[in-house]
């Protein structure tokens, strides 16, 4: 167990460097293969600012989910319900604004509150009833999506939002997509939370050994509540931004996003067992996936290949990380001198 963590942590380092290389590689590849100047001398394709901005725009929601998923996974938990919650938030926001005539700012506030509430539901079931996060959020995964569909009978969609709201998803502020600024703020906040506050430390502690954390006198229940409520907030924020971007809110918003978010986090080197990981790792993982999934058409590759490459990347990256450790452990068992590892027992 413990030595397992050791492995995954080392992996993390190897990881962030390796990931950065992959990312740069990807980017350069698309830049040189995917950028051209048309006969009228205008540069077009991947290299243009427009393309870069759009890639960010399109992957912003998944990025938000990955960000708030990181603390959850650091505590050794998981949240499968974020994608569905995106949908529920979008629908509720739409209903509030269009049917209940609630003004946009109030509707936004209410939607975020809903997100926090939904996260609170997950947290309660997990901490109070001590149900495994995987199961609880698997249940709310169906529940939230079902609610969204029931509210719209799967048919109703909401559109024609005021320009002031659409701006959040479509306009540029200071030359950058508006939602990107929101994203950066959230990223900074989460990074500080995880890497610079006592909360972040306790997340790792809980993920590493929740009992140990209890003995160290940490309020484990409260901390877990924090991460799941945070995840809920993030999900509903993502739902709002999605709605603003498309000027359309439907029950199927964010379908399948939960697994993409988890992929980004895990690719970023966060241990699925909790305890070790980093927010910047998540950002790298997210970027690597975002570029892959949105840039293939620029090099005239079928966009469908993106999913395959993502899966491949995840597996290869993690194998690459573990392989050396695995081999060395294996070699050590054959013929190596004393190991620095306090545990003489080979990792399970």
């Amino acid at each position: 167990m413990n030595s397992d963590k050791h492995g995954l942590k080392k992996l993390l380092f190897r990881h962030e460097t390796l990931l950065l290389l992959v990312l740069v590689g990807e980017w350069l590849f698309f830049y040189f293969r995917g950028t051209t100047t048309n006969f009228s001398g205008v540069t077009v394709g991947f290299g243009t600012a427009g393309a870069q901005i759009d890639i960010l725009r399109h992957s912003c929601e998944i990025g938000l989910l990955a960000l708030v998923m990181t603390p959850v996974i650091l505590t050794g938990g998981i949240d499968l319900s974020v994608g569905s919650l995106m949908g529920l938030s979008a629908v509720v926001f739409g209903k509030l604004w269009r049917d209940a005539g609630v003004p946009i700012p109030a509707a936004i506030t209410a939607t975020l509150a809903l997100g926090a509430l939904a996260g609170g539901l997950n947290a309660t079931l997990i901490t109070a009833l001590r149900l495994p996060p995987l199961i609880v959020t698997l249940g709310t995964f169906s529940l939230f999506r079902g609610l969204a569909e029931a509210l719209t009978r799967g048919a109703d969609t909401f559109t024609g939002f005021p320009a002031s709201f659409q701006a959040i998803g479509q306009n540029n502020w200071f030359g950058l997509p508006a939602q990107l600024l929101v994203f950066v703020l959230v990223a900074a906040a989460i990074w500080l939370l995880v890497h610079r506050t006592t909360l972040g430390r306790s997340f790792r502690a809980i993920g590493y050994a929740s009992e140990g954390a209890r003995y160290a006198g940490l309020p484990v229940g409260r901390r877990l509540a924090t991460v799941y409520i945070l995840a809920g907030l993030g999900a509903s924020l993502a739902g709002l931004i999605f709605t603003a971007r498309l000027n359309q809110a439907g029950a199927n918003t964010g379908t399948g996003y939960e697994l993409f978010a988890i992929t980004a986090v895990v690719l970023g080197g966060t241990s699925i067992f909790g305890g070790s990981g980093s927010v910047h790792g998540t950002l790298l993982g997210w970027a690597a996936v975002a570029v892959l999934s949105d840039s293939l058409p620029y090099v005239d590759w079928p966009r469908e290949v993106g999913g395959m490459l993502t899966g491949l990347l995840l597996i290869v990256a993690l194998s690459a990380g573990v392989l050396p450790k695995f081999l060395s452990a294996w070699r050590a068992r054959r013929h190596s001198s004393r190991s620095v590892n306090p545990q003489p027992t080979p990792s399970p």
């Binding site: 048309n38 205008v42 394709g45 759009d54 009978r153 559109t159 498309l246 000027n247 949105d294 058409p297």
Partner: protein
């Protein structure tokens, strides 16, 4: 060689630069759009243009939006779209227009200010009326019937539904008992039809207003052993319905010539980009055939009814 000799290449194709025309279907897997793409490709070759045909694998407004934005960055000359969701796609299309990219819509329109022309395969009235009349004819103007649609959000299906409802008033003895979506997916259509039939045993007819729904419903009727008892009609492609039409499961398939639709969309796009077609024109001629323009709608013409008698004459 063939490009030059192509008849419709005409003045446009020969003169001026090679255009890049991007065509966006609602979903790539859908045979309806694949056949439209076939026509589009022929037209593009004839015009000596480059055709990009891409779209979501399953109907997905967000993906459509993102694909269009990708094309904007790629710097295509003109875009032809079939919108899954008016609002969602229009935001991206306006952006395209602001970048000087011309836009036409086909099959499913977007907001008027988000495109110059809509290549209209048939007016809602035209479709609704032909469908409802054909249904009434087969059902003897009385009894329960159900409608399978693409998705309850799909703009033009809902248009057609309206005019069907209008026409339905002329057949007081007929009762619409179900209106279910199949997400443009044959599988879903089949299970929907199956459920509808067991829920409504007196059902006389299933009408599908999205192309995957027709073979889907037919498959369901066949498997339920209700061939002839429950009649099947709808908007569909001859090829994927031939078998059912011949085995008498499906009675008639109503559609326009989808390859022609695709071709017309490309021709309109090309002409628009080259300035030979301008807003306000009253008609548009392609290789000798003239299509009239009503407002900003380029009309493909009257729907066509395929049945045992004639279906084998068509291959798309």
């Amino acid at each position: 060689g063939k490009k030059d000799s192509a008849p419709a290449a005409g003045s446009a194709g020969a003169s001026g630069k090679k255009l890049t025309i991007a065509m966006l279907p609602k979903s790539k897997g859908n045979a309806y759009f694949l056949s439209a793409a076939k026509g589009a490709q022929k037209a593009a070759d004839a015009l000596n243009d480059t055709l990009l045909f891409d779209g979501p694998t399953q109907t997905d407004p967000a993906k459509q939006n993102e694909i269009v934005e990708g094309w904007i960055n790629k710097g295509v000359d003109v875009i032809a779209v079939a919108a899954e969701d008016k609002a969602a796609l229009s935001t991206a299309l306006r952006k395209a227009q602001s970048k000087g990219i011309k836009v036409v819509s086909f099959d499913a329109d977007v907001m008027p200010d988000a495109r110059t022309f809509f290549v209209n395969q048939a007016t809602p009235q035209g479709i609704g009326e032909s469908l409802m009349d054909e249904a009434a004819r087969l059902a003897g103007s009385e009894g329960e019937f159900a409608i399978i649609t693409a998705s309850l959000t799909a703009a033009n299906q809902n248009e057609w539904k309206k005019s069907i409802d209008e026409r339905l008033k002329m057949y007081p003895k007929m009762k619409l008992v179900e209106f279910r979506p199949c997400d443009d997916d044959k599988a879903k259509a089949q299970s929907e039809a199956t459920t509808i039939m067991s829920a409504h045993p007196n059902l006389k007819l299933i009408m599908s207003i999205c192309s995957p729904g027709v073979p889907g419903a037919a498959e369901a009727v066949k498997q339920a052993g209700k061939t002839g008892k429950v009649k099947v009609i709808g908007l569909g492609l001859p090829n994927e319905n031939k078998a059912y039409v011949h085995s008498g499961v499906t009675d008639s398939v109503i559609l326009w010539n989808t390859e022609e639709l695709g071709a017309l969309a490309v021709h309109a796009a090309d002409a628009l980009a080259r300035g030979t077609l301008k807003a306000g024109d009253k008609s548009f001629t392609v290789g000798g055939k003239t299509y009239d323009i009503v407002g900003d709608n380029i009309m493909l013409g009257k729907p066509f009814i395929f049945n045992k008698a004639n279906i084998d004459q068509f291959d798309f």
